[in-house]
Structures are given as C-alpha cells and as structure tokens.
Subunit: 404 residues, 3 copies
C-alpha cells in the first residue's frame, strides 16, 4: 500500500498485489484537514460490480457545529461514520432496514459542547444517539467515584474524542474493499496514553461490514482498560415480539429491577411507558476459535442484525433493553465488551477490568451483518444454535453485583 | 407563508395575504449554515417607510470563536441577537439609548468555552453580558444540589445552547414585520427533551419589539420546567434616582441582605462600591387578561424601558438591583418568570416549579418598548398605575425562603 | 508606533524614531481574525542581516481543531506560539537544540475540548505539552477546594483561554525587533476581571527572547492573583548528568517524597521508571536590581537554557524534576513565580498569594537564552555564581507545607 503524504491526493497505483488508493482526510500530526471531500469508484477508474462513493462532510447547526461525518455508500448500504465523535457509527441504512435508533438527541453533537462530568458524570447522555458507540478505553460503565477517588464518567471518553488521523483506503483489486480508518487518542499526562486505530471495512455490494480496532498502550506503565461496543438498534428491527438470540452460558439481571424480566430475557415488549430499561449480563459461549454471534430480529424474522465478535477479545455481553416509548428512545443494545456496565470499582472484583502492558496492542474484531430476509435470519440463528451446541443457559437470579 | 428549502434563497413572492420571504440561515436537520449573510428592504424590493437590514455575522477573537450574531436594523433601532447563545439579545441601540449593560465579560462567549458546573455551578457567569438572557428551561435559579442529587447549575442551560434552526421571515405587506426565529433544544437521553421556538418580531420604524417563545415537551413524560426572562439594563437608563415601577401585590426581599433595601425597592443608587446585589421578589398585579407592565426609567424620566408580559404565562417577577460600581457591572434585572431565583429545591414548596405534559406547548410573550421621552415614560407609567388600580403593595419583611 | 486598524494591513512607515509595522491578527473587539497569514523581512523591505518570517496558521485534526499557532523564524531560531492556548510557547528550535519536551499529549489542544475540573481539577493535564505554560493568573497550584469552598483546578485558567487580541509589531529600524503580543482575559462576572498583555520579543539573528507580561486588574476590587511561569525542558538538554544551577538562599522539598532527592537537587537522573516527579522549592538570590538567572545544561555543558527573571516580580522558584521515562514525559520545569505549586489555601499562610489593587498593573519580565556551546554555558554559570556571591544555600529538610 502506498501512503499518500498530501491530503486526499489521488494517485493512480501500479499493479502490485496490495495495490490500493489511500486518502488522508485529517492528519493532526500535520495539523491539516481536507474539508469536504468525496470519491467514487468512477473517480478511481474502478469498474466495480456495485458502484460506491465515500464522502466527508462538515456539519453545522446547533451543537453540530464543526462535526465531520463520512458517508460510505457501497451500492447496497449507506454507513455514516462520525470522526469527530470517536469514529462512532451514526447509522446504517439499506432499503427499508436501518441499523440505528431514534434518540431524543437529534444532532450529532460536537464534543466541545459536552461536559462529561455534568449530572454527576452522565454528560455522555447529551450526545448519545449512534448505532455504535465505543465505551472506553480508559474505563467504561456507570458513573461513580472509583477507588482512586476520581469520578469515572459514564462510559469513558473515547466517543467524545475527535479522531486525530482519518484516512480512506480503497483496494484497487476485487473485491475493492473500502477501509475507513481513524486514530483516536486518549492522552492525559501522568494518566493515560492510549491510541486506538479503528478501521471499518466494507465490500461494495455486500450487506455486512467489519470493525477492526487496535488499542495500543503507548505509556511505559501497565494500565487498566475497558471497552464495550455499545451497538444500538431500534425500529424497524426492534418491535413487540422481536427476539434476541446468543449462545450463552449464563444470563443474570444487572440489578434488582431487571430480575422481573429475567425469564423473558430473549424477547421484547413493544414501546412501553414507564418501562425505562432492563439490563442483562450474559456470559457467551463461542466456537473453538472464540467466535460467537448475537442475533436480533423482528417478529416476522425478516429483518435483523447479526453481531459477530470473539470472546477471547470481548468475553462478556451486555443486553440493554430500553423498550420505553418511541419518543424516549425505543432501543436495545447488544454490547460485547471486556466488561459489563457497572462502575469500574464493582468490576475489579469480578475480574472484568483487564490491563494492557506498555507497548502492548489489543485487537478487537466485530462484524455487523444486515439480515434482510427470513433466510438471512435463519442462517444467523443456525450459527447461534450451532455454537450453543445444545448446552444449557443458566439463568442466575441474583445480579453479579449487589448495588447499594 | 412559503418555506424556502434552500439556504437563504430569496424568492419573489406572489400576492397572497400571508406573503412573506423566508430565509433559513442555519438548519441542523440539514447540517447546514449560510455563513455571513445580509438582506435589506431594497434587496426585497420593499419600499418600506423605514429602511431595514438584517445581517448575520460570524465572530472571532478569544472565546468568541465561531459565535454567530444577527443584527436587525429596523431604521430606528439596532437589535443584536446571538443564535449561538440560545437566541439571547446582546443589546438594543437607538440614538443615545441603549438597552443592555456593560459587563466585565466583553466577548460574546461561545458555549464551547463554558463549563456550567465550574465554581460549584456558577460557570454561567463566564459568559453573562446580554440584555436578555433566558434562564431555563430545564431549570433556573441559583446553583445547588437539588433533591434528585444533581447539581443544578446557575440559571439552566438554554442560554449556552446554540440554536439548531435559525430563520428570518419578512412580511412583504405593510407593516413589513421582521421575524427572526431560532429553535433551541435541551436534549439529554432519559432526562430532557425540550424544544423552544423563539421568535423576535419588530416592525420597521417602531421603537419596540416582541418575543414570542413556544416551549414544547417532546418527551412522553411530564417534566418540570422553569423560565426567567432575565432582562438587564445599565446606563444610560440606570443611574442614581432611576426608578422602577410595576403593579405589585407583594414585594419581599430575596434574602436577609436585601431586607435593608425593601422600603426603597423602587429606587436606585448610583454606582456604589461594596453594594453587590439586592434582589426583590414581586408578585405582580395584572389586567383582566393577565397583561402587566414593568417600567424602568432614568432620573429625568426621559429614557427608559417598558417590559410587558402576561402573568398567566409568567406569574412572578424578580427585581435584581446590582448597583455596584460601573466596572463591576452596574445593572438592574427585570425578570418575569415562572419562578424566582432560588435553587429549584426551594421553589418546589412555593409552587414555583411548574410542569409540562408530554407534547404540551407553553407560550411566553413579552414586549420591550424603548422610552425615549418624558411623554413615552408617562404613558408607560400610566399603564402601570391603571393596572395597579389603587391597590396596596404589601411589603413583606421576611424572605419567602429562609436560606441556610 | 502607528496602529493599523484594519486586519494585517501592511503600511509603509515614515522615519519616526519609533517606526514600526503593526499587524492585527485577531481582534475580539472587532470580532475579526485574519486567518492564515505570514510576513517576511522581504515583504517589509527590511534588509535584515538575519532574514525572518512570522506566520500564523490554523490547525486541524483531533482536539487541535481551530487552534492558531504563530511561528517566528528569526533566522537562527523557530519559536512556536499558541494564541489559542493563552499565548503559550509550544517549542523553540535552533539547529539540534530544542527548548520544549515530548509530552504524551501530542496535539495542541483547543481549550474547547478541555474540562479543567475533570479528574478532581486535573483537566489541565489533557493539554499539557508546551515549553512555556503560564499558570495563573486568578490562581495557580495543585487542585483542591480552597477556603472559599470553590475547587481551584490545577494551575489556573489562563493557558486554556484563547487570546482576545493578537498582534505582530516589527521595528523598522535595526535591530528590527519582532514583537508578538496577545491579550488574554480572565473574566467572570463578580469574580475576576484580569487582563494580561503578553509580549514576546525576539531580535533577528539572536539566540534569546524576552517575555514582557502586564497583568491588570480591571475590577474595582482588590483581588488575589498568582502566576508561575512553568518552563519545561526535555531532551536534548535534559539527560543523565544534566545540571541545574541557580543562586539560592534556601532549597526545600515540596513534599515527603522529594526529601530523598534534596541533596541531589541540582543534578538529574536519566529516564527512570517509577521516578514520577520530585519538586523543590527554591528561594532565589538576586543581584541588587532583583535580577537572577537559572541555568539548565546537559552533561557535556554544550547545550542548555538560561532563564532570567526578577525576584521583585517573581520571588520564588519551583524546580520540577519529572525524570520518569521518555514516553511518560521526561522533563524538568524551571518555574519562577509569585508562588509555589501548593494549592492556594496552603500558600496564603506562606505569604505567597499576593493581591492586585483595582486598576493596578503588575509586570513580569523573563528572558530565555539558548546555550549552544560550552562557552555559552560557562558565561551563564558565571552569572549565577556572581549573583550567589559565595553565599551558602540552606538545604531545608522539611517541606514548607505539611501536606495531609
């Protein structure tokens, strides 16, 4: 791969096996940003069976001022990434299927307008509306004063950190994979020196995409880290009778309120006033390589999403059922992670606050597949069943943590 | 009225009764902003007896970076609005009369640089310099930890929220009213989903303007709300011997310090070292439609302002006398509201924390009239007197709240 | 000197003794900013023996979005100033010598992305990477709740405040001094009305520069103020065997941890895992005019820096030895100030929280000289020795403050 040093310079590439066109859209080390920008398969002279475009656009209006989004249209799906918000995925649209949800928060909020420590550490909720939010990496979970005396605000800082380096790489050989990468840093003198290289890869014409993230501890000291991949899905997938399936060793309620929903953990209510949220902690089963799959589908089974991840990277799974009314944000979260959503101080005793050594890199791989027919859904559910392999799922009545 | 969908597109209108030209300057839903922009009656082909211009301008320098202002010149007055600061009114100038004040804070501060929770919730003071500040709508009043355990920062968040949608509508029939509207949202997942459509209307050649605000609760739950229209006036109106008049049932000191000023509640000192501030809580009288008027005028009675409001919308009135030295900010606040300036937890027992139902809209209407002659002032005072109708004003010695 | 009222307008000047060209780059009072800009001696028609350029550039990428830097190249040195971060000096480069350090924080962070009160008041560390950081002026020192009940965040707010007015003045007579000035305001209604006019002056071809800062209290009340000029130096000067020298009456450890390093206060370790930081409080000696000099040089004595200041302005000196590993930020701070680095509440009893009267201006003058040969270093050390004049330096074993 040839690295272009100038911003978004298109270079016709030779015939090397790894030939690809690379476009640097934002580069903090050079202090530069390309501004509004777009490229298509036609611009690249690629005769892709599915046409594609990648566009970067700066937003304005309210708390969006200065936010950059990148829209990838791969011919069958439109994926909206938000470099300014830690490379989060705002939404994915394909025909009448949408991955994402309708939050009361409508704007894509510039982190400059967010005070994570407001409302006792709930400031993150001022900007929460994406399909995919990374909760980490310095810490994750509910806000609270940790053992070190510091307030750990809800779900960490990475989603409210603008990407330092953003680039688009397009393979110039079939299947012409499109890779959009962002480097997001969490750096505080004496506290944190984490860099995460986040890459989304999508093939033109395909109805799935992959995330490959590499978290590196640039510090000379071992540090704790945590990550939850907070994937959020509302209508049209989520509805009364929608169903969640995942290979599971054990499922337990997050807190006392969720106890009442334990036996129905796999099914969903329609929009329900006063429901608020129920959260379930899942210990997933996986295949011999650690791979596993969580599936959410609608009542008819013809629309859904399958989330693939690896339990050697992301050993636990949180299921967040926020089936309150549509206006409140009718949404469910499928959240593979190193950790559950408790405050860090509660997760250490559970062994769910891993550490990362100096110079070490941890990789996290996830796939999101759109299910657009009964057959798609059946295939995904078959995989879940195969991984579970007939084992029992223990329903543990008591939460893992006795919250005060 | 015809809505233009493109930004600031001028369209010549037909002869319909409601004919008007509409210009969208900022639209978060489209992610767009028109940048610097201006329009005049000449551009519109309007042969207005008083010429007018409306100009949008982006500011730079210090903490102003990226702040938008809109200046309306209606031929006799220049009104400066600040979309980036919740559609606040920075100042109104007409000849040698100015509505506004001289704060130590000189810049029009971008909310991105403000941390409302700093200094125990006094961060709002880092940007306070406008003639008209909306204090609300999620809460208002002095900072403090409320009954729900959350710090309510001084006077809420709306003034430090950039407008999501800004438009200018100009009637193309006499009297060619100019309407500048901004939509400002307070949205936090699980906490708040308030939208306020704020419209300032001014007629070319007239020395008054009107505010019409519509607050809507977009959530599916009933919520508390509060609003104070914090109007602030310094020189040339405020001076030794300036006088405040309003139809009042009862006046009481906000706290112990203000007790000493109760009997002189209607008159002002000149700039006074160590005065700090005295605040009075007024229960206003109104006419049979709920309309009432508060008047501030200078010693000679030839310069002043009349603030009209409706007690069915804004039942109480705070009078803030900050007659400290000129450099500290010599200013008085005339503040109609749903509430006084106590922290929310003290206002609930007073019945001054109203609620708004799901989908409900509350309207607030105010008028500000410049008084530029003894005759103007006399007319305004006559209205005050007529509303009071000879009733007594009770001077209550004890504050409504016994502050700790 | 003729003040140009338009932005960056170049005006050919006459032959007055004070002839100079002035360029306003940013002016909050006019709401304007010149954007990217540069000037050279050639543009000015100045036949300087050493060519020079001054360039203003806006940065992007990550948390740099919207940050302005000014790079002065005086023919032998390149000085990078950051108007958006309180006119801090990011670095100074000359040949293979660099004043500055390598912080884990790589970007030049826009204060819009910083929450000073995060991590119990340590938010300042999210942006700390400059060679010269002003810590003040409202307060300085370690975070903590002060006697007034307010959290004083680490090292005050001025470095995270964008300059309101930025100008470049170039003398048009030899030696063609270049002056870059920024006005940085700390303004909070009822709390603070401080303005600091900060000027960096450098002569083309010379290897030193001067800071002249004027702090003015614009309020009508006397207020406390504090300032530490936090100058930070890493490689190539700092290394095992590097040495610090300053005329000193007394040296004491900041805290118990630093006691172990007291006898070696003048020498440095190489990068040392788990060293963290040791801080020493120095009471400097000075010449009959109050001038004194602190010198840091490498082991060979051929690279270093000399920091000149005046003890009537800055009576105390903090030496910060952060000789942890290179990646953690291997750095030492030479920090003349009104105060040490304790929280304000501990410095009042030490008499190190001075006050500034209404309208009063306090001036602070510092010089930074690059030492680029043994002879340069020898000269600087000779001055130190001459000021010390054979007096003893008392090593006080106990910290001035018994921290809890």
């Amino acid at each position: 791969m040839l690295k272009k040093t100038s911003l978004a310079l298109l270079v016709a590439m030779g015939s090397l096996p790894s030939q690809a066109a690379e476009f640097i859209l934002t580069d903090a080390s050079a202090g530069s940003d390309v501004g509004n920008w777009q490229i298509s398969n036609g611009d690249l002279g690629i005769d892709s069976p599915a046409p594609f475009t990648v566009e970067k656009k700066r937003l304005f209006g309210g708390k969006q001022a200065g936010v950059d989004i990148i829209v990838i249209d791969n011919g069958v799906m439109e994926i909206t990434l938000v470099p300014t918000r830690g490379m989060g995925i705002y939404e994915v649209k394909s025909g009448d299927l949408r991955l994402g949800w309708t939050s009361p928060v409508k704007e894509i909020v510039n982190p400059a307008f967010i005070d994570l420590e407001s409302r006792n550490g709930l400031g993150w909720l001022d900007g929460f509306n994406e399909m995919l939010v990374r909760c980490g990496y310095e810490w994750t979970g509910h806000p609270g004063v940790d053992d070190d005396g510091f307030l750990k605000s809800l779900h960490g800082r990475v989603q409210n950190t603008p990407a330092s380096m953003v680039k688009v790489v397009i393979d110039e050989q079939p299947p012409y994979a499109i890779h959009v990468s962002g480097e997001v840093s969490e750096k505080t003198f004496k506290f944190s020196d984490l860099k995460t290289e986040m890459t989304l890869t999508v093939i033109p014409g395909e109805n799935s995409f992959a995330l490959h993230d590499e978290l590196t501890n640039l510090a000379d000291y071992e540090n704790e880290y945590q990550i939850i991949y907070h994937g959020n899905f509302g209508t049209p997938i989520l509805e009364k009778g929608a169903k969640f399936s995942a290979p599971a060793k054990e499922v337990s309620p997050f807190n006392d309120y969720a106890k009442a929903g334990l036996k129905d953990w796999q099914t969903y209510l329609g929009p329900t006033k006063d429901f608020d949220e129920m959260v379930f902690n899942i210990m997933p089963n996986a295949d011999e390589n650690g791979n596993t799959l969580a599936v959410l589908h609608n009542a008819a089974g013809d629309q859904g999403v399958a989330v693939g991840f690896n339990v050697t990277e992301l050993p636990v799974l949180t299921l967040w059922k926020n089936t309150d009314t549509l206006k409140q944000g009718y949404v469910t979260g499928i959240e593979p992670g190193t950790s559950f959503a408790y405050n860090t101080k509660y997760q250490r005793p559970l062994g769910l606050v891993p550490t990362i050594k100096p110079g070490e890199t941890k990789a996290f791989n996830l796939t999101y597949t759109l299910l657009q027919s009964r057959s798609d859904t059946r295939q995904a559910l078959d995989k879940v069943e195969a991984i579970q392999g007939g084992q029992d799922t223990a329903l543990r009545e008591e939460p893992l943590v006795a919250l005060p």
